[in-house]
C-alpha cells in the first residue's frame, strides 16, 4: 500500500527555549547526542554516511550564509557528506524529505537529518527589523511575520464567522499540550481570556496568538526500511511526502481563507501514502499563529473549510478529540526554531506512533501520523510528511 522504503530509527531534540547559554554548534551537538541515544539498539556514528542540515537563516546570529560543514564539525563527524537545505518555514521537513530521497535512491544508507536554528542571539525587535525589510522594497515594506497570516484571519472571520475566541482556543489547547511536553519552550497553561487580553500585535492577532522566537535543534536518523531492524524492533516508516508552492506575494493569492500550497502538498503526500485524511491518527501542523492551525486543519482535509474555528473551540483537535493536533504544544507552545521545527514535529510523530508520548499519548488507531509546515513569502511553500507503523 504505502511507499515504506525508508525507516525512521531514531529521533530526538533538545529542550526548546531562549537558549542564551548555547551556541548554534552546541545546540547541534545536543540534538545529535539526543538522536543517537534514541536508537533502541544503539548507533555507531561512523555508520552515518550523509547528513542534511536544516537551518533557515543565519542572519539572526550574524551569519549571512551557512554551508554544509558547520554541523559535521560541531558533532564530531567532520568529513561526512553534508548539505544544507533551506526552504523557508518547511526547511526542516523538506530536509527530511530530501534525506528520505537520498536513502530511497540507494545512494546513502544511514542519514542524519538535523535542524538547528538560533533565533535569539539578536533581540526579537532586531529579528522583526530584518523581517520588515524583506520582499519588495516598497510593496511589502512593513511586513513582519504576522502580516503574512493576519490577513487570513481577518477574511476567515469575515467569511465564516470565526471569532477571536475560536482563534484563542488553539493557543489554549497547544499551551495545555506544551505543559505536558518537557521539551516545550512554554510549560504553562493559558486561558481564552489570557489570549484575548494579551497585547495586540497585528490585528486581529494578539500576543498569545503568536508563536515565540525560540532557539532549538532536533535530529532524526533514517535508513532504508530493509536495514531498520539493525537499529530497532519498533521502526517507523515513511509512508509519503509532498511539497508544493504558491505565489510569494499576498496580492497574488487566489484565496484568503486557505493556503493552497498546503492542500497541494498534502494531496501529493496522501496519494503517495495511499491514505486519506480520515486515516490520520494525529498531526503536527504549522501553528506559527492560531489562525494558521485553523487554516491547516481545513486545508489538510481534517475539517470542512470554514469549520476550523468551531472545531478547535469544541475540542475536536484536543488530545482526546477526533483528530488530535499539535500534541507536542506546537509552534505556539513548543516553539518555532525554524530549521529545527519540522524535525521536532517529526520527533513527536515518531513518539506517538511508538507509544512513547507519555502524558500526551493519543490513541493510534490506524498507525498514521502527519507532519506539516507552511511558510516563506506569502506562505508559498508547504511540505507534508506522513509516517506510519504499518510495514
Amino acid at each position: 500500500m504505502s511507499w515504506n522504503k525508508v525507516a525512521v530509527v531514531g529521533a530526538g531534540l533538545i529542550k526548546m527555549g531562549e537558549l542564551f547559554d548555547q551556541s548554534y554548534e552546541q545546540m547541534a551537538k545536543g540534538a545529535f547526542d539526543s538522536v543517537v541515544a534514541s536508537v533502541d539498539k544503539g548507533l555507531d556514528p561512523a555508520l552515518i554516511d550523509a547528513a542534511f542540515v536544516a537551518t533557515q537563516r543565519g542572519t539572526l546570529w550574524g551569519q549571512e550564509g551557512i554551508g554544509g560543514n558547520t554541523v559535521p564539525s560541531a558533532i564530531g563527524l567532520s568529513g561526512i557528506a553534508c548539505t544544507r537545505i533551506e526552504n523557508a518555514c518547511p526547511t526542516g521537513s523538506d530536509a527530511f524529505r530530501v534525506g528520505c530521497m537520498a536513502v530511497a535512491s540507494g545512494v546513502h544508507d544511514v542519514v542524519l537529518v538535523i535542524g538547528v536554528e538560533k533565533m535569539r542571539d539578536k533581540s526579537s525587535e532586531e529579528g522583526l527589523l530584518a523581517r520588515a525589510a524583506a520582499g519588495h522594497p516598497v510593496y511589502t515594506r512593513g511586513e513582519s511575520a504576522p502580516v503574512l497570516f493576519a490577513p487570513f484571519a481577518t477574511r476567515h472571520m469575515h467569511d465564516f464567522g470565526t471569532t477571536r475566541e475560536m482563534l484563542a482556543s488553539v493557543a489554549v489547547k497547544n499551551h495545555h499540550n506544551g505543559a505536558l511536553d518537557p521539551y516545550a519552550h512554554f510549560q504553562n497553561e493559558v486561558s481564552i481570556e489570557d489570549v484575548l487580553k494579551s497585547a495586540p500585535v497585528c490585528h486581529p492577532l494578539h500576543l498569545l496568538d503568536c508563536c515565540p522566537q525560540t532557539d532549538g535543534a532536533a535530529a532524526i536518523i533514517i535508513t532504508s526500511a530493509d536495514r531498520a531492524s539493525e537499529f530497532t524492533d519498533k521502526p517507523v516508516f515513511v509512508a509519503g511526502f509532498g511539497v508544493a508552492t504558491d505565489h510569494p506575494y499576498l496580492h497574488e493569492k487566489s484565496t484568503f481563507v486557505g493556503l493552497p500550497a498546503t492542500t497541494l502538498a498534502s494531496d501529493r503526500a496522501y496519494k503517495m501514502a495511499d491514505v486519506s485524511p480520515s486515516d490520520i491518527d494525529m498531526a503536527e501542523v504549522h501553528d506559527c499563529f492560531t489562525i494558521t492551525e485553523i487554516l491547516d486543519i481545513e486545508d489538510l482535509g481534517f475539517v470542512e473549510k470554514g469549520k476550523g474555528g468551531i472545531a478547535s473551540l469544541e475540542g475536536e483537535t484536543a488530545l482526546d478529540g477526533r483528530i488530535p493536533i499539535n500534541t507536542s504544544g506546537g509552534l505556539l507552545a513548543k516553539g518555532h526554531p525554524i530549521g529545527a521545527t519540522g524535525i521536532a514535529q517529526l520527533t513527536e510523530c515518531w513518539w506517538q506512533l511508538r507509544g512513547d508520548a507519555a502524558d500526551r499519548q493519543v490513541e493510534m488507531r490506524n498507525g498514521f501520523a502527519l507532519q506539516h509546515n507552511v511558510g516563506g513569502r506569502g506562505s508559498g511553500v508547504s511540505v507534508v510528511n506522513i509516517l506510519t507503523t504499518n510495514a
Binding site: A132, H136, P137, Y139, G142, E143, P146, V147, C202, L250
Partner: protein, 466 residues
C-alpha cells in the same frame, strides 16, 4: 497667444497645529490661529501630486494629454536630485514632457507659473500643468514656527479657457530676509521683522501691486509670512478683504504655494483677480480675468478644510525634529541600487503587466516575467486603477522605527480587476472588508537620506474622497 487657466486643484496636508499649543510649549500664553503641517509620510511631492491629480480630474484630462510640467517649491524633496522626474513619474507623464522645477525662495511658485505661461504662449506646449507646493520647516522656538504652513495648488494652462492670464509685474531688490544656507535644515527667521516690513516687503509689494493695474473689484491673493503682513499690504493697496484670507487662516503661510492657494477658491466666480508673490527679494503680481468659473474651483474650500488637529509633539515628530533613539529598519536594498533603477517607473507610476492571454494583471511587472494565472509571457504595461475595495487587511501594532504604529497593510481589489497590497495611509480605524478605498501617493520613508515614494490605501468615507 492667450494663456488661460482651464482647471485648478488644491491639496492640504493632514495635520493642523494650533498656535496656542506651540506657545504653551515655549512657556508663552495665548495665541490664535493654526497652520497646516505634513504628516511624516507627506511632503512637497505628495502635496504636488494631490493638487495636480485634482486639477487633471477637474479638467477631465488624462496624464497623456499633458505635455509640460512646471513645479515651484522652496523644498523639493531632493535638495539636489530627481525631484521633477519623480513628480512626472507619479503623474504618469511621458518621458518627453517639457517643463522645469523652480526653487530657491518662496518666489519659486510664481516663477513656475510664469515659465509655463511663456511656454504655452510660445506654442511650445499645449497643455501645461503648473503646481506650487510647500512644506516649510521652521526653526523650533522661532517666532514664525506656528505660522509656517504647508499646502499645494495646481492649475492647467491652455490657449483657451475660462480664465485668461493678464499682465504681470516683477520687481527685485537684493536683500536678505528669511533664508536657509546650504545644509541648514530649517529656514531662518528674518533678522529684524520691522526692518523687513518697512524697508523691503511693504515698499516693494506696494510698488508691484500698484503697477499691476488691476481692475476695480479685483480679488487679491497676497503673500503673508506672519499673518499680519498680508492684511497690512492689503490696506496699503486699498484692496478690501483679501481673497487669500480664508486659506491663510486654514493653512498658515504656504510660502511659494500661497499665490495660487490664495486665489484658487476665487476662481469659481467671474471677475478680475490678482495673484501676488514674494520671496528672496522679488515681488510679482499677475492679473487673471475669470470670465467663467474655473473647473475645480468649487471644491477648493472643501479640500483645504480637511485635516485633523495634531499635538505639538506629533508635529515635531512628523517634521523630523523628534527622533526615536535606537536602530531603525533599513530597506533591504539602498535607494541607489539597481532595484530602484529597474523598478522606479513601475512603482511610482503604479503600473502593472496585463496578461495578453488571460487578462490577469501582474504587479509589479519587473518581478513577473510569467503570468501568475496562466504562465504566459506576453503582457501590456497598464496603469492600475486608483480605486477599489478591501479584500482583506491587518493593522500592525508592533513596528519598529521608522514605522509608526498602528500601521495598516491592506490587500485591495482595484476597479480594473487587479489586486495589490499596500500600506494604509490612516490608522485603519475605518477599514472593513469590502469597503471602498482609494490609492494616494505617500512618502514611505526617508531611506539612508533619500525619500522613497509609493502608494498607500485610504478609506473613502463620507466627505473624504479625493
Amino acid at each position: 497667444m492667450t494663456v488661460c487657466i482651464s482647471a485648478v486643484g488644491v491639496a492640504a496636508p493632514t495635520l493642523r497645529l494650533s498656535t496656542r499649543d506651540v506657545n504653551a510649549a515655549w512657556g508663552k500664553g495665548g495665541g490664535r490661529g493654526q497652520s497646516a503641517v505634513c504628516a511624516s509620510d507627506e511632503d512637497t511631492l505628495t502635496l504636488a501630486w494631490a493638487a495636480c491629480d485634482r486639477a487633471l480630474d477637474a479638467a477631465d484630462l488624462a496624464a497623456c494629454d499633458i505635455d509640460g510640467l512646471w513645479w515651484g517649491t522652496t523644498r523639493p524633496p531632493f535638495a539636489e536630485g530627481p525631484s521633477w522626474t519623480h513628480l512626472a513619474a507619479v503623474l504618469r507623464l511621458g518621458p518627453s514632457t517639457d517643463g522645469s522645477l523652480c526653487s530657491g525662495s518662496t518666489h519659486a511658485g510664481i516663477e513656475a507659473l510664469l515659465a509655463a505661461a511663456d511656454a504655452v504662449a510660445a506654442g511650445r506646449v499645449q497643455r501645461a500643468l503648473v503646481v506650487m507646493s510647500e512644506s516649510l520647516l521652521p526653526g523650533t522656538g522661532t517666532g514664525v514656527e506656528s505660522a509656517t504652513g504647508a499646502g499645494a495648488a495646481a492649475v492647467l494652462l491652455t490657449n483657451e479657457g475660462p480664465a485668461p492670464l493678464g499682465t504681470r509685474v516683477t520687481r527685485s531688490v537684493p536683500v536678505l530676509d528669511r533664508y536657509r544656507g546650504d545644509r541648514e535644515p530649517t529656514t531662518r527667521e528674518a533678522y529684524d521683522g520691522r526692518l523687513f516690513r518697512e524697508e523691503v516687503y511693504l515698499p516693494l509689494l506696494t510698488d508691484v501691486g500698484r503697477a499691476a493695474g488691476a481692475a476695480d473689484g479685483a480679488r487679491w491673493s497676497l503673500p503673508d509670512p506672519d499673518g499680519r503682513l498680508g492684511p497690512t499690504l492689503g490696506r496699503k493697496l486699498a484692496v478690501g478683504a483679501l481673497a487669500s484670507a480664508q486659506s491663510r487662516a486654514e493653512l498658515g503661510d504656504t510660502g511659494s504655494a500661497s499665490p495660487l492657494i490664495g486665489i484658487a477658491a476665487a476662481l469659481a466666480t467671474v471677475g478680475p483677480a490678482v495673484v501676488m508673490a514674494y520671496g528672496g527679494g522679488r515681488g510679482t503680481a499677475l492679473n487673471v480675468d475669470v470670465q467663467a468659473p474655473v473647473p475645480g474651483a468649487d471644491r477648493v474650500a472643501d479640500d483645504l478644510g480637511q485635516g485633523r488637529p495634531a499635538s505639538y509633539t506629533e508635529v515635531l515628530r512628523a517634521r523630523g525634529r523628534l527622533i526615536a533613539a535606537g536602530e531603525s529598519v533599513e530597506m533591504a536594498v539602498p535607494p541607489g541600487s539597481a532595484m530602484f533603477v529597474r523598478g522606479n517607473v513601475e512603482v511610482l507610476g503604479l503600473l502593472g503587466a496585463r496578461c495578453v492571454e488571460c487578462g490577469t494583471v501582474n504587479t509589479p511587472p519587473s518581478i513577473h516575467p510569467a503570468c501568475i494565472s496562466c504562465g504566459s509571457d506576453k503582457f501590456d504595461i497598464v496603469p492600475l486603477a486608483r480605486k477599489g475595495t478591501v479584500q482583506t487587511f491587518v493593522i500592525n501594532h508592533t513596528m519598529p522605527a521608522p514605522f509608526e504604529a498602528p500601521l495598516p497593510l491592506v490587500v485591495v481589489d482595484l476597479e480594473d480587476g487587479s489586486r495589490i497590497q499596500l500600506q494604509g495611509a490612516t490608522t485603519g480605524a475605518d477599514l472593513t472588508i469590502g469597503g471602498p478605498v482609494e490609492l494616494i501617493l505617500r512618502r514611505y520613508s526617508v531611506e539612508r537620506g533619500v525619500p522613497i515614494y509609493g502608494w498607500k490605501v485610504r478609506e473613502i468615507t463620507e466627505g473624504s474622497a479625493s
